[in-house]
């Protein structure tokens, strides 16, 4: 199987506090990995290091394809006055592979239209982002994350602020991206139903990797633990 991401001996420190130590793992093409662990365990720091948002104090991160999609935990839903239409927001996802002046051309507009159609939000195209509901905004930000056809999509608790109905819809969309479009998924989540239904692997992090492997085996370990 093709490796899409390799992390070797990764450590991350905030000041003197080591939030992650000696992290090693490989991600294969088509994996759907749920990253779980208690609050403050370093899950967000791990994905931020992979995304280049924080500098690790040691270790290596190797990506086969530099185009990564990212859906952050914190979205900008609060600023209802921000003047940007849905298509303008999605176009930002295309900037990474462009040279200055980073002009959005006709083929980019086509990519935006295809993504809107894929996520069934074409009718929102010209709406102001602040006028949308939380679920709709989350879909728009997902569209921004996938418009450039990333090899890996990293999501940091994307459904934590959504109501149950939207949560299910959203999880189904991510599942389709993984199974139909073969996008590798790295998902930080506390949502048990999504972990059970969709992910093929689990990474349990608590400042170091406690478990990384197939989901079925993790369930067995958990059950054994409960019996003991």
């Amino acid at each position: 199987m093709n490796k899409v991401l390799t992390v070797k001996n990764l450590s991350v420190k905030y000041g003197r506090y080591e939030v992650l130590k000696n992290i090693n793992f490989e991600v294969l093409l088509g994996d759907y990995i749920s990253i779980i662990g208690p609050n403050g365990a370093g899950k967000s720091s791990l994905v931020k290091a992979i995304l280049g948002l924080i500098k690790p104090c040691q270790g290596e991160i190797m990506l086969e394809n530099p185009v990564i999609g990212y859906l952050p935990q914190k979205t900008y839903t609060n600023d209802k006055a921000f003047p940007a239409t849905v298509k303008e927001i999605i176009s930002l996802g295309l900037l990474g592979t462009k040279k200055h002046p980073k002009i959005v051309n006709a083929s980019d507009k086509e990519k935006i239209d295809i993504t809107l159609k894929k996520l069934k939000i074409t009718e929102l195209k010209n709406r102001k982002i602040g006028s949308l509901s939380g679920g709709e905004q989350q879909r728009v930000l997902l569209a921004r994350a996938i418009v450039n056809n990333p090899s890996i999509l990293i999501l940091d608790e994307p459904t934590s602020a959504l109501d149950p109905e939207f949560k299910k819809e959203f999880n189904d969309i991510i599942h389709k991206l993984n199974t139909i479009d073969k996008v590798t998924i790295l998902l930080i989540t506390h949502d048990n139903s999504s972990i059970k239904q969709h992910s093929n692997k689990i990474m349990y992090v608590n400042r170091e990797i406690i478990y990384y492997g197939l989901r079925e085996n993790f369930s067995m370990i958990q059950e054994e633990g409960n019996h003991e």
């Binding site: 948002l53 990212y70 952050p72 003047p83 239409t85 303008e88 930002l92 900037l95 959005v104 010209n126």
Partner: protein, 273 residues
């Protein structure tokens, strides 16, 4: 009707008014473009802060007998970088960092004024602008600097838009957000220094804030906000300069007053819509 048109043509053709209009329009374009990014990044008071810094730098220039713009541009730019550094490295919030640098600069300006045995007329004229008395040098410098500002903003438009909407995502996209923030600071520093000739240190921040906030009342897209903000800014500067001559008002406050009226109109238009 014809008489009014003839009067307008006569006014526009007067060389000192033509110079004022050229500088005014260029400042209107630069400040409205930058205003959109600064207001939405919640950094709009940097205009006010840097104007205070300009006051201090003008005092230094007058004391040593140098044309103020030569002293103001480097010192105001350095101050804007200092505000960014204080915000980044010392964890001082942007508004507090602006307040620190601005008040220190004004205090320095006043102390220099005292050393120079009181403020002279030149220094107080910078408080409310003196666009009708711009020199040829002012015009040439304004043209060069404004063109640099306008082209840089247009060239970096999408990157600055990304930075303004979501800085973290911009970093993931590989944009050099640190450099972009410094470029934005440099451009606003230049614009503030030139803009002080138009409306003065007391009112320059209004040229940055008013057009954007006015446009925000009716727009839904980012590009649309840039365009409406530009139109509002140019309309207020041109009509402000001309009406100040006709009504014999000071041009700086007249421009800001018209900006205020336009904001009220757009605000009520939003309520009606």
């Amino acid at each position: 009707m014809n008489e009014t048109l003839e009067l307008l043509l006569e006014i526009i053709q007067a060389p000192f008014i033509l110079k004022a209009l050229i500088v005014g329009i260029l400042v209107a374009v630069s400040s409205s473009f930058l205003g959109v990014f600064l207001v939405l990044k919640r950094y709009s008071m940097i205009g006010d802060g840097l104007a205070h810094v300009s006051f201090g730098t003008i005092a230094i220039a007058l004391l040593i007998g140098v044309t103020p713009i030569y002293v103001s541009i480097p010192l105001v730019t350095l101050s804007s970088f200092l505000i960014l550094k204080l915000n980044e490295k010392a964890d001082i919030h942007a508004d507090a960092a602006i307040g620190l640098v601005a008040s220190f600069s004004v205090a320095t300006g006043v102390m220099i004024g005292t050393l120079a045995k009181g403020f002279n007329v030149d220094l107080s004229s910078y408080l409310f602008g003196s666009i009708l008395f711009v020199t040829k040098l002012d015009v040439y410098l304004s043209i060069i600097l404004s063109v640099v500002v306008i082209f840089t903003v247009l060239f970096l438009y999408n990157s600055l838009f990304a930075l303004t909407y979501d800085e973290e995502f911009s970093k993931v996209m590989g944009l050099n957000t640190k450099a972009l923030n410094y470029i934005l600071s440099l451009l606003i520093s230049i614009t503030i220094v030139i803009g002080i000739r138009v409306v003065g240190t007391m009112l320059i921040s209004s040229l940055v804030i008013f057009p954007t906030v006015t446009a925000l009342q009716v727009t839904k897209g980012f590009k649309q906000t840039m365009i409406i903000s530009l139109i509002v800014s140019m309309l207020s500067v041109v009509s402000g300069i001309i009406s100040s001559i006709i009504l014999d008002f000071p041009p700086g406050p007249t421009i800001v007053f018209i900006n205020g009226l336009l904001f009220i109109c757009f605000y009520f238009k939003k309520l009606v819509l």
